[in-house]
């Protein structure tokens, strides 16, 4: 049962399909340095989600930051089954987008900021992506 759904058209979607998981919402994140490559847990001192695992989540990030090696960390996580199921970002980041394409992770590369603001942290969410349209349903 969904309490609320948002339909987005004319957005930049990555991949096709549906994913279900709990949201982790962050202002910023770098896969290198902020995430432990072995456990998939957030280790950045300055992020409130420190200690949370990214595995099977719907990761919602305003702006990714930092290293271009982050793509390998994301690739390692998906090979180990520890990657997020979907990634939604406000500012499209080539490092993260490449990792998503390699790993077949679906998501939205340019989420409108007002939509980002309405998404809550730690909520069961279903994401559907198909050729420029996305549907986000929250429980």
């Amino acid at each position: 049962m969904h309490n609320r759904c948002i339909e987005l058209s004319n957005v930049i979607t990555i991949g096709k399909g549906n994913a279900f998981g709990k949201t982790i919402k962050l202002d910023t994140l770098s896969f290198l340095g902020d995430v432990d490559r072995e456990s998939g847990k957030i280790i950045a001192q300055d992020l409130k989600a420190k200690g949370k695992s990214l595995a099977s989540t719907i990761l919602v990030v305003k702006r990714f930051r930092g290293s271009t090696v982050g793509v390998y960390v994301l690739y390692s996580l998906c090979k180990k089954g520890l990657a997020p199921k979907a990634i939604l970002m406000v500012d499209p980041d080539p490092v993260v987008v490449t990792g998503m394409i390699l790993c077949n992770i679906i998501g939205v590369a340019k989420l409108p900021e007002d939509v980002y603001n309405t998404i809550a942290d730690d909520v069961d969410t279903e994401v559907g992506c198909y050729n420029g349209t996305a549907k986000l349903c929250f429980q």
Partner: protein
């Protein structure tokens, strides 16, 4: 996306399986970023070389590509490796895996004399030239100081771009995207690496894209200006995804756009020192070379005026990271290292082709290190396990 005849052939597999996969990835990423075509590049620079960062999965990916005959189609350089590449660990497997990574890259065509985060010292890009560089500190330097055009590629897209000699035409390759997002006025003279670094880390946290920076730099010689710029830019790129800053009086004309109506921000020196309390620690080791130092920069920082500062801090070892092409056995360098050891009781260890922040320093018994470099301050603890202690240099 429009593809020309050659590109269509690459995509259909006529140039082999590896080329097909490489162009597929570039086209897909390009489509996400609204590119309408691919463009030729003059130089690719690959990141993701340390075994500590890319792990067994990354190693397998690179070895697999090299075994399938992957070959670069343009001049290609790579980032530094971890200290395992110099066999510094008492762990043969670790050292061997690091060396396997560099061997796979060299087999694919990476310049064996590169392994540096300052690839512009090996081949200086021309103004307006298109590149596909990963390594955030080199990308921001190329766009902001050299006037070259490159996106902040991921380690993997930079490699794929090297394999096809092309990248997607969007982002920083297009002049309209090289537009200032805000004007930042610096109210003080930038006169040290540490100050340039703290400023860069701060600017990275507040910029919305391409900061236009108006600042004065106190310098006695040209090499110091370059060091200050390199450290400020590398720091901006650590706390943001910025791939360019417009530096007043430095960024080549006609490579950027400034609209008159942008927001103006003033930065006071005091703001930079608000969050440094946990970095006021002590160590007997100093790390220099993040980004890598050129020989001239290294010799400048090993002069007596700096060595005296290091001595006052109780430093007994200086680790200097430089590119793989630097001849550390030259008479000039040996003489200086010997002089510092005899006169000041400080050991200088030069580590060619390698990088401390992508190495596990705890395994080498370093729990804290002094450094003036903002990029190292930002990454050291989470990547290497050593606590950064700031030093005013």
């Amino acid at each position: 996306m429009y593809l020309n005849r050659i590109e269509e052939k690459m995509l259909s597999g006529e140039f082999g399986e590896v080329t097909k996969k490489a162009i597929e990835i570039i086209v897909k990423v390009g489509e996400v970023f609204g590119a309408e075509r691919l463009i030729d590049i003059a130089h690719a620079h690959i990141s993701g070389v340390s075994y500590f960062n890319i792990g067994d999965e990354g190693l397998e990916l690179l070895v697999d590509l090299s075994q399938k005959g992957a070959k670069t189609r343009v001049y290609t350089t790579a980032n530094p490796y971890s200290f395992a590449g110099l066999s510094l660990y008492n762990n043969e497997e670790l050292n061997r895996k690091q060396i396997q990574i560099t061997e796979a890259l060299i087999k694919m065509g990476v310049d064996p004399n590169s392994f540096t985060c300052i690839p512009y010292t090996l081949r200086k890009p021309a103004i307006g030239e298109h590149l596909a560089w990963a390594e955030s500190s080199a990308v921001i330097y190329a766009n902001s100081v050299l006037g070259a055009f490159t996106n902040r590629e991921s380690g993997i897209t930079a490699l794929m771009a090297a394999l096809i000699g092309k990248t997607y035409d969007s982002g920083m390759h297009r002049i309209e995207n090289r537009t200032a997002s805000e004007e930042i006025n610096i109210e003080f003279n930038i006169n040290s690496i540490l100050l340039a670094s703290l400023l860069g880390l701060h600017i990275g946290r507040l910029t919305r894209g391409v900061p236009y920076i108006k600042a004065k730099y106190s310098i006695e010689k040209e090499a110091m200006l370059n060091l200050l710029l390199k450290n400020m830019l590398a720091s901006i790129a650590s706390t943001s995804s910025a791939s360019m800053a417009i530096l007043d009086g430095i960024t080549p004309p006609n490579t950027y756009v400034i609209d008159s109506s942008i927001e103006r921000i003033h930065i006071d020196e005091k703001e930079l020192y608000q969050s440094i309390d946990n970095m006021l620690c002590k160590s007997d080791v100093l790390l220099l070379g993040c980004p890598h130092l050129t020989q001239e920069e290294m010799l400048m920082l090993l002069r007596d005026e700096y060595i005296n500062i290091f001595k006052k801090h109780g430093i007994s070892k200086i680790i200097v990271t430089v590119g793989a092409n630097l001849n550390i056995r030259s008479a000039e360098i040996s003489n200086i290292i010997n002089k510092i050891r005899e006169r000041h009781k400080i050991n200088v260890e030069i580590m060619p082709g390698s990088c401390a922040i992508v190495s596990n320093l705890r395994l080498l018994n370093m729990t804290s290190v002094y450094t003036p470099h903002g990029k190292a301050i930002h990454y050291l603890y989470n990547l290497s396990g050593a606590k950064p202690c700031i030093i005013g240099v």
